[in-house]
C-alpha cells in the first residue's frame, strides 16, 4: 500500500451522491460521517491542514466499510483505498488501543493461544446468567444491558473437521476457509457447508493452520498484523492443490479474494480466482442440477454488504433459497444491518438504529426465518430479535439448503 490514496482523493467531485447510499449518513445526516466528508478530511491530512486527533479517529471509525458508496460513485473514486489509508494513518499516528493490539499482534497469529483464550471464556460464560435463546450478554457491554451475543462453541470448527470425509469419485475438491465467527461460534454453519457439498459429490477439506483473515486488524489500521495473517493463510492454502476455496463468511471472502491481491501482490491472483462465496460456488458449479424438497418456512434474505456492494452477488443466494424454501423478498434487503467490528463498539447507538431498520424490514416481509451469507450479519440480526423476544429465526442460507437437501434426493450423476 502506497501513496495512491493521495491521488484518489482528488477524484472526488463532491457531488454528494454517497449521501443516498451511506447507511451511517442515513442515521446521522452528519457530513463528517459520509464518504464525501471523510474524503475531504483525507484531503486536509494530505495537505497538512490537520493532524490525527480523537475526533478525526471517531469520524474515521464511523465508516461501516460496506463499500456501497464505491459501487455508486459516478466519479469512480475507490473509496476503499482512502478509508484504508485513513485507518492505517490512525493506527500509525495514534496507536492501536492496547487490548486489540495484543490480540492482533500476538493472539490472532497463534491459533493455540487464541483457542486457549476463548476456551477460558467459554468456561466463564457458563457462569453468566441470563441467556436468551442461545445468546448471552456481550462481555464489554454487559453493563449496558442491551447486547446479546451467542455462546462460544465447545469444539471449534477446525477441531471438528480436522479430518473430513474422503469421497470416492469427487467431481471437485474444495477447501473451506472458516473465518473466526464460524470457527468459534457458528460451527453449525461449517457443518452445513461440508454436508451440502458432500451431498453434491464435492470433497471438502478444512486446512488446519488457517488463521483469521485479517479484517479485524486491518479495520483498525493494523496493516502489519493483517499482512502477517495473510502470509500464513497463503502458505496454508497454496500447498493444498485445491480446485476451489469457499467461505460462508462474506467479509472473509472479500478479504481473501480481493484485499489479499493488494496485500500479497499479483502472485495471489491464481488462488484469488478460485475463491468463492458458498452460494456463489453452488450456483456456479451445481447450478440447477440438484433436487431439493423445499422447507415450508417463509424465508427472506438479507444481503451482506461485502457480498452485495463489494462483489455484486445477489441472485446466487436467492436462487439457492428459492430452491430450498418458501422464499419472500424483503424491502431494503441490501441495507446494512449495522453489525461488524469496531464500529459496533464506538458507535453503538448507530448500530442499534441500523439494526432496528433491518429488523423492521424483516418483520414486514412476513418471513419466519431470515437467511444471510455472513456469520457477522447472523450474529447482529439474531441480537436484534433476541432483544425483542421475537419468534423470527436467523440463519445462514447454506443451512436452509442443508435442510432442504435432507428432505430430497441428490442427482449425483451429473
Amino acid at each position: 500500500m502506497g501513496e495512491d490514496w493521495k491521488t484518489e482523493v482528488s477524484k472526488c467531485s463532491k457531488c454528494g451522491k454517497c449521501h443516498t447510499v451511506c447507511p451511517v449518513f442515513l442515521e446521522t445526516g452528519d457530513e463528517a460521517m459520509v464518504s464525501r466528508g471523510r474524503i475531504s478530511l483525507a484531503e486536509a491530512l494530505r495537505d497538512q491542514q490537520i493532524v490525527y486527533t480523537n475526533k478525526l479517529r471517531d469520524y474515521v471509525y464511523s465508516c461501516k466499510k460496506c463499500m456501497r458508496c464505491r459501487k455508486d460513485c459516478p466519479s469512480g473514486v475507490d473509496y476503499e483505498i482512502i478509508i484504508s489509508a485513513l485507518l492505517r494513518g490512525v493506527a500509525e499516528n495514534m496507536g492501536i488501543p492496547l487490548l486489540p493490539k495484543i490480540i492482533f499482534r500476538y493472539i490472532l497469529p497463534r491459533r493455540i493461544l487464541f483457542d486457549t483464550m476463548l476456551k477460558v471464556s467459554s468456561k466463564i460464560q457458563r457462569f453468566i446468567p441470563m441467556k436468551k435463546r442461545g445468546q448471552m450478554r456481550h462481555l464489554p457491554l454487559l453493563f449496558m444491558g442491551k447486547r446479546w451475543i451467542p455462546t462460544l462453541a465447545k469444539k471449534t470448527a477446525l477441531q471438528k473437521f480436522r479430518n473430513t470425509k474422503k469421497l470416492k469419485n469427487p467431481r471437485m475438491r474444495v477447501g473451506l476457509f472458516t473465518g473466526c465467527l464460524i470457527n468459534y461460534i457458528y460451527v453449525d454453519i461449517a457443518e452445513a457447508v461440508v454436508d451440502v457439498l458432500n451431498k453434491m459429490n464435492i470433497e471438502v477439506v478444512v486446512p488446519q493452520g488457517q488463521l483469521c483473515c485479517g479484517t479485524p486488524s486491518s479495520s483498525m489500521g493494523d496493516v502489519k498484523s493483517s499482512r502477517k495473517l495473510a502470509e500464513v493463510n497463503r502458505k496454508v492454502f497454496e500447498s493444498q492443490g485445491l480446485d476451489a476455496i469457499v467461505s460462508a463468511c462474506a467479509t472473509c471472502t472479500k478479504t481473501i479474494k480481493m484485499d489479499y491481491l493488494r496485500t500479497l501482490g499479483p502472485s495471489w491472483k491464481p488462488i484469488s480466482d478460485k475463491i468463492y462465496d458458498i452460494s456463489e460456488f453452488i450456483y456456479k458449479y451445481c447450478g440447477e442440477e440438484y433436487e431439493t424438497k423445499p422447507i415450508e418456512e417463509k424465508v427472506t434474505y438479507h444481503d451482506p454488504c461485502h457480498l452485495l456492494w463489494v462483489r455484486g452477488i445477489s441472485d446466487e443466494p436467492r436462487n439457492v433459497l428459492k430452491k430450498s424454501s418458501n422464499f419472500v423478498e424483503m424491502d431494503m434487503a441490501g441495507s446494512c444491518c449495522g453489525g461488524g467490528g469496531i464500529f459496533t463498539i464506538i458507535h453503538y447507538d448507530l448500530t442499534l438504529k441500523m439494526l432496528e431498520r433491518k429488523v423492521a424490514s424483516i418483520e414486514r416481509s412476513g418471513a419466519d426465518t431470515v437467511a444471510t451469507n455472513c456469520p457477522g450479519c447472523v450474529m447482529q440480526i439474531a441480537d436484534g430479535f433476541a432483544g425483542k423476544n421475537s419468534k423470527i429465526k436467523t440463519t445462514h442460507s447454506i443451512q436452509i439448503l442443508q435442510r432442504a437437501l435432507a428432505n430430497g434426493n441428490i442427482n449425483r450423476e451429473k
Binding site: 457531488c15 454528494g16 443516498t20 452528519d30 475531504s40 486536509a44 491542514q49 490537520i50 459516478p74 469512480g76
Partner: protein, 469 residues
C-alpha cells in the same frame, strides 16, 4: 476572515461570538473543531473555503438567534443544504458561520386534499417526492441531484431539473416561505393556498436569491396529482444534429414530454459502463424522453415520439419495459455531471440556456471555440427548455486552466449574443459572478444590489456570491 487568528480585534470578536452562540444554542449545536469545519467547506464545484463555525440548528429560533449574533459582530453567514450546488452557493468564501440545514429535515405536513406540503429546508427533494407519492401526488421539480440535494437548496438556487418543459421549475411550485432575515427577524411570505397575490411577490424575490437575502426555515410547496403512468424512451443517434432535430419535431407535433434530455458524445463516453446500460460505440447523441399521463394518452404520444425519432434518422429507439430498466436509464443521465471527472480532473460547469432554435448554432460555436480540442467539452441537458450543461473538462497540465477559462469567456459571449442566459438553473454563486454583468445592464445590476443592501446592510449573508465584491 479567519475568526480566531489574524488580528487581535477579530480574535476577540470571534471568541465572543462563539461563546455567545454556545451559551444561546447549547454546545452540541455549535461545532468549531477543525474536522467538522473541513466537512462543511466545499460544495460540488470542488471549491474549498474553511468556515470558522458550523451551526446545526434545530428550528427557526436557533437560526434567528445565530443571525442576531452574527449580525451584531458582522460575521458572514452561509446557508448549506446538502452542499451539492454547482455554482459555489454553499461555499463559505469569507469564512464565518455555516448553517448545516440538513439537521432541519422534517416534512412538517402533507395536505393531500389541499395539494400542498410544508417542509423544513433540509428535506431531501426525493424524500419529499416519495412521501407525497404515497398520497398519489407529485412534486414535479426534479434536479438531477434530487436524491441527495435539499428543497432548501433547490429553492435558494431555483433549480429546474428534468421535468421543466412540461411542469416548470422550482419557483412555479413554491407557495409560501418562512424566512429569517439577516437581522434575525422572521417573516412569512406568500400563503399556503394555491393562489395568492396579496402585496408584492416577496416569495419569488427570495427564490433563487442564493442565500444572499435570508434563510428559509419553512417552505410550502404546491403539489399536483401524480400521473397514472410514466413511460421512458431512449433514442440513439449517430449525429448530434439529428437528435436536436428529433427533439424539435417532437414538440412540433404538439407533444409536451415530461422530460426531454439530450446527451452528446462526450457525455455518453463519460457514463459508458456505469450501471447496467450499454450504449453502442456508433452512438454520438442520445435523447432520453419520459412521457406521462394515462395509459391511452401515453400509447398515442409514445408512437408520435418514436416516429419523430425515426424520421430524424435515429439509429434505434428503446422503450423501457420495466421500472428497473427505466431507473437504469435515468441513473446514467443523472450521474453525467460527476462522471465527467472520469474524463479529466478539472471541470468548469456552465448551464447556459438559449432559445431552442439557437441550440444547434450554439453547439457549433462551442465546437469552433474548442476547434483544436485543447480541452474536453461535454454538452447535455434539458434540450426542450434550451438549457444545456456545457462542461469544460481539462487536465492538470500547466496552462490548461487559463485555456479553459478563455474558452468559457468566449462561450459566454456567444450565449449572450444569441439571446441566452448564463445560468438556467445552477445560479450565479461565485463561479459565474464575473459574467453576470454580461447579461444584466448596469442599472439592473444596481437595483439588485439595492435589494441586497436593503435586506442585508452589513453584507453578512453569503458574501462573495452573485455580485463580484
Amino acid at each position: 476572515m479567519k475568526l480566531f487568528k489574524k488580528t487581535k480585534k477579530e480574535e476577540t470578536k470571534g471568541t465572543k461570538a462563539l461563546n455567545e452562540l454556545i451559551r444561546v444554542l447549547g454546545k452540541e449545536k455549535v461545532l468549531s473543531a477543525i474536522e467538522d469545519r473541513i466537512c462543511y467547506s466545499y460544495d460540488s464545484t470542488k471549491q474549498k473555503a474553511l468556515p470558522d463555525i458550523v451551526i446545526r440548528p434545530d428550528d427557526t429560533s436557533d437560526i434567528s438567534n445565530t443571525l442576531k449574533i452574527a449580525n451584531k459582530y458582522e460575521i458572514p453567514v452561509y446557508a448549506r443544504g446538502a452542499g451539492t450546488g454547482l455554482s459555489g452557493g454553499a461555499v463559505p468564501l469569507m469564512g464565518g458561520i455555516v448553517f448545516d440545514l440538513k439537521s432541519m429535515n422534517k416534512i412538517i405536513e402533507i395536505c393531500p386534499e389541499d395539494f400542498v406540503a410544508t417542509v423544513e429546508p433540509g428535506v431531501v427533494t426525493k424524500d419529499l417526492q416519495d412521501e407525497v407519492a404515497k398520497h398519489g401526488l407529485l412534486y414535479p421539480p426534479d434536479p438531477s441531484s434530487a436524491a441527495f440535494s435539499t428543497i432548501g437548496g433547490n429553492v435558494a438556487e431555483c433549480a429546474g431539473g428534468i421535468t421543466g418543459l412540461k411542469y416548470g421549475v422550482t419557483r412555479d411550485y413554491v407557495l409560501a416561505l418562512e424566512i429569517v432575515l439577516p437581522d434575525g427577524s422572521v417573516i412569512n411570505t406568500g400563503r399556503k393556498t394555491l393562489r395568492s397575490v396579496t402585496g408584492y411577490d416577496l416569495t419569488r424575490l427570495f427564490i433563487g436569491s442564493e442565500g444572499t437575502l435570508g434563510i428559509f426555515t419553512k417552505i410550502t410547496v404546491k403539489l399536483i396529482p401524480d400521473p397514472e403512468r410514466i413511460d421512458t424512451l431512449a433514442a440513439f443517434f449517430s449525429d448530434r444534429d439529428d437528435a436536436i432535430d428529433a427533439a424539435d419535431l417532437i414538440i412540433d407535433n404538439n407533444i409536451l414530454p415530461r422530460t426531454l434530455e439530450f446527451m452528446d458524445q462526450m457525455s455518453i463516453n463519460a457514463v459508458r459502463g456505469y450501471g447496467e446500460v450499454t450504449i453502442d460505440e456508433d452512438v454520438k447523441a442520445l435523447l432520453l424522453i419520459d412521457i406521462d399521463g394515462t395509459e391511452e394518452s401515453i400509447r398515442h404520444e409514445l408512437s408520435v415520439v418514436e416516429n419523430a425519432c425515426k424520421e430524424k434518422k435515429a439509429l434505434r429507439t428503446k422503450v423501457a419495459e420495466t421500472s428497473k430498466e427505466r431507473d437504469a436509464l435515468w441513473a446514467v443521465r443523472r450521474i453525467i455531471s460527476p462522471a465527467l471527472y472520469n474524463v479529466a480532473t478539472h471541470k468548469i460547469n456552465e448551464d447556459i440556456c438559449v432559445p431552442r432554435s439557437k441550440i444547434k448554432e450554439m453547439l457549433q460555436k462551442v465546437d469552433q471555440i474548442n476547434e483544436h480540442h485543447t480541452v474536453y467539452i461535454a454538452n447535455f441537458g434539458h434540450i426542450g427548455d434550451g438549457n444545456i450543461h456545457v462542461n469544460i473538462m481539462y487536465k492538470d497540465d500547466p496552462g490548461q486552466e487559463e485555456l479553459a477559462e478563455s474558452i468559457v469567456n468566449k462561450i459566454m459571449e456567444e450565449v449572450i449574443a444569441s439571446g441566452g442566459t448564463i445560468s438556467g438553473e445552477h445560479g450565479i454563486g461565485n463561479k459565474k459572478s464575473q459574467f453576470l454583468e454580461l447579461e444584466i445592464s448596469p442599472q439592473v445590476f444596481a437595483i439588485m444590489k439595492r435589494f441586497k443592501n436593503f435586506f442585508d446592510p452589513k453584507g453578512i449573508m453569503n458574501p462573495g456570491k452573485m455580485f463580484v465584491t
